[in-house]
């Protein structure tokens, strides 16, 4: 069982992914944007961070970079559904250079759990 920080601005997406992770036995802390996500990451220690990279208020790629700058930072999985302006692949390539894994939405539960299993 791992302690996972999940950052996504869409409650339905966050809720669904959290449900999959919890059923798999993980403890999940949710954050609704990059700013509060980084706050949670400073408050306590996580085994893994899963973050969307297209969110209002804070670009998810910045979150990935900020997390990675902290000493002893946990592994990060970046997620993207593509967006206006930046296509999913470009954003993921950006995130991939610093994140440890990347998932393109919509992904299957098995893909998510595989990625989590490999990083925790």
């Amino acid at each position: 069982m791992s302690k996972i920080l999940l950052i996504d601005d869409m409650p339905s997406v966050r809720g669904a992914i959290a449900a999959v992770l919890r059923k798999d036995g993980h403890e999940v802390v949710e954050a609704e944007d990059g700013h509060s996500g980084l706050e949670r990451a400073r408050e306590s220690r996580f085994d893994l961070v899963i973050t969307d990279i297209m969110m209002p208020n804070s670009d998810g790629t910045d979150v990935v970079f900020a997390l990675k700058e902290q000493a002893g930072s946990p592994p990060v999985i970046a997620m993207s559904g593509g967006g206006s302006g930046i296509p999913a692949e470009t954003a993921l390539t950006l995130a991939r250079s610093t994140a440890d894994a990347a998932l393109t939405k919509p992904f299957e539960n098995a893909e998510l759990l595989d990625a989590v299993g490999q990083l925790t």
Partner: protein, 393 residues
């Protein structure tokens, strides 16, 4: 529209030039001279004009053509004898814009000049975009005697302009597709996650089967989003070698679940054809079949039979034929059904991308697509779409 008219001046027969063109150039008066003194030169100049020139006789009933130059006969395919004595409306046809014709008629009634584009037809029936400028010719007393017309075939230019507009629309679609994809992919995530999550706990087997359809539809929707992005960008796919019979069978079984209950699907696979291997992207191929079958179901207003027939008609290729019992494609739409954005169902949400996507996919696979429709091609009505795919070595 300009109000300027051309007037024929009084004859100046006392000033006949003797050499070539006058040293001071040719003003309207001297042009008149030239007509008197060197009529052959003037005629030769008009005959050599690389634009179409017509002169309509306004003193005769129904304003028949009195003259057309060789450029006109070359563009239209009509000989001089075919056209002189007839009103030039014989160039108009089925798709000529009635509003443009009305504007032309009004200009003539008001004896004014006009410039417009008019869809005309050559003698062999092929249409061309005619850029037409017409001006009234008055005699010295102010009486309307003729209409002179200058025309150019601007078909190629207009095609280029339309292609450019389509290119811009595709570019806009590509940008829009990025935004739509982001939203749809985010909306599809909870469906995929939560349905799979809860499916294993399902005790009721019928409900579990229903959830399977939800899951498959969500996956197909994700693929459609990806394909729309790919269509606007030209993306890469995953091609695999699969036996055509197997892939058609599994995809038709799935697509059937998406069709209205009163649409029956009859699948026949010739044994010799079904075992052949084709190289395809399965998701993309499924999109091809789904597009064709959904089109058929819509054409039949959600009730009737769709036949899917896999056979071996052409050496080196397998043939997949999808036919229905609908009304077929009306003649006026046949030539354009493969064009991107061409739709007759815009009110019902049609984007006009379905068949053009199908055509694009089949072409990329090295196959062909033929559409035959009710009438002589398909006795008994309906539409028959036949696609062939090369057999993979």
């Amino acid at each position: 529209m300009t109000q300027k008219t051309i007037q024929v001046p009084k004859p100046l027969s006392d000033q006949t030039p003797t050499g070539g063109f006058p040293a001071g150039g040719i003003g309207p008066d001297i042009l008149r001279h030239l007509a008197d003194a060197k009529p052959d030169l003037l005629v030769a100049a008009i005959e050599a004009c690389p634009v179409n020139i017509t002169i309509a006789d306004m003193l005769r009933p129904d304003a028949p053509l009195a003259y057309v130059n060789p450029a006109f006969t070359e563009t239209t395919g009509y000989a001089l004898d075919d056209v002189v004595g007839r009103n030039c409306r014989f160039l108009q046809g089925e798709h000529t814009d009635p509003e443009a014709v009305a504007a032309l008629r009004q200009a003539i009634e008001q004896e004014t000049s006009i410039e417009l584009d008019l869809l005309n037809y050559r003698k062999d029936g092929t249409p061309f975009d005619n850029h037409l400028k017409m001006a009234p010719v008055h005699d010295w007393s102010g009486r309307l005697v003729a209409y002179v017309g200058i025309q150019s075939d601007v078909t190629a230019e207009r095609l280029r302009e339309r292609a450019e507009i389509d290119r811009q629309r595709l570019e806009a679609l590509g940008q829009m597709a990025g935004g739509v994809a982001h939203q749809l992919n985010n909306l599809l995530q909870p469906i995929l996650s939560l349905v799979s999550l809860n499916q294993s706990d399902m005790k009721d087997s019928r409900m579990a089967a229903d959830f399977d359809v939800v899951l498959q539809s969500a996956r197909q929707a994700a693929d459609v989003v990806r394909d729309t992005l790919a269509f606007s960008k030209g993306d890469s796919r995953t091609y695999v070698n699969v036996p055509i019979g197997e892939v058609v069978e599994s995809q038709v079984a799935f697509i059937r679940t998406l069709l209205p209950a009163d649409v029956r699907v009859d699948l026949k696979i010739e044994e010799s054809a079904g075992a052949n291997t084709v190289r395809i992207d399965v998701t993309q191929f499924s999109q091809v079949l789904a597009n064709l079958m959904i089109n058929s179901a819509q054409a039949m207003q959600a009730s009737g039979n769709i036949d899917v027939f896999v056979s071996f008609l052409r050496p080196g290729h397998v043939t997949i034929a999808v036919s229905d019992e609908g009304p077929g494609i009306p003649a006026e739409h046949r030539a354009r059904v493969l064009e991107p954005f061409y739709t007759t169902r815009s009110e019902a949400g049609g984007t006009g991308l379905g068949l053009s996507v199908v055509y694009g996919i089949v072409k990329r696979l090295g196959g062909t697509l033929a559409i035959e429709t009710a009438g002589k091609d398909v006795p008994g009505g309906g539409c028959l779409v036949t696609l062939t795919l090369p057999i993979a070595s």
